[in-house]
Amino acid sequence: MTYPQAWVAQAIAQYAIPLQIDNSKSENNQLLHRIHHIWTPDVRILHYDGFELYRWDGFLPPSEFAARLECAVGMAYLRLKRFDEAEKAYVDVLRRFSTSYAAPEAQYYLGVVRYRRDPDSDELLTQWAQLRGRYPASEYRVKQSFKELPD
């Protein structure tokens, strides 16, 4: 994966140490087997204990990559229950990359973050209502569609 744009490198550096593994080198086979690698590019966000917090396969152009990276960071923070940081990442995706393929996921999980931080708030339903309005044809609209069923 190569991106000549400095702003992509800056986006990565803000959150992560970049590690690149060549799957044609035999010395990497043990690691690749351990992580069940199957296709390239294979991009993962890892906790420093090695746990995989988010992953995706396949090429994305720079703006889609940046949006997906920010979403990945949001999910990584969410899984670590660092709700304020997760919220910031998802809000950033919606502000800067609102037409990206990652945006519906950010909208969905923004509600999840706010609900997990404060279960008494209405934010889950509020954010999912935004999801229905902004991204009606998205997979994430389907994920919340049980909320649209009659009681």
Binding site: T2, Y15, Q20, D42, H47, V73
Partner: protein
Amino acid sequence: MQAVASSIPWQYDYDAVLEQARAERKFVLLDVFNPG
């Protein structure tokens, strides 16, 4: 795929990167690629 100049400062040692990430309290962005 022909390699293109990248501004990303890639590192290549898995264990060392995890240690660095632990010290800096950052995540690791792992990219598995094929140079062909």
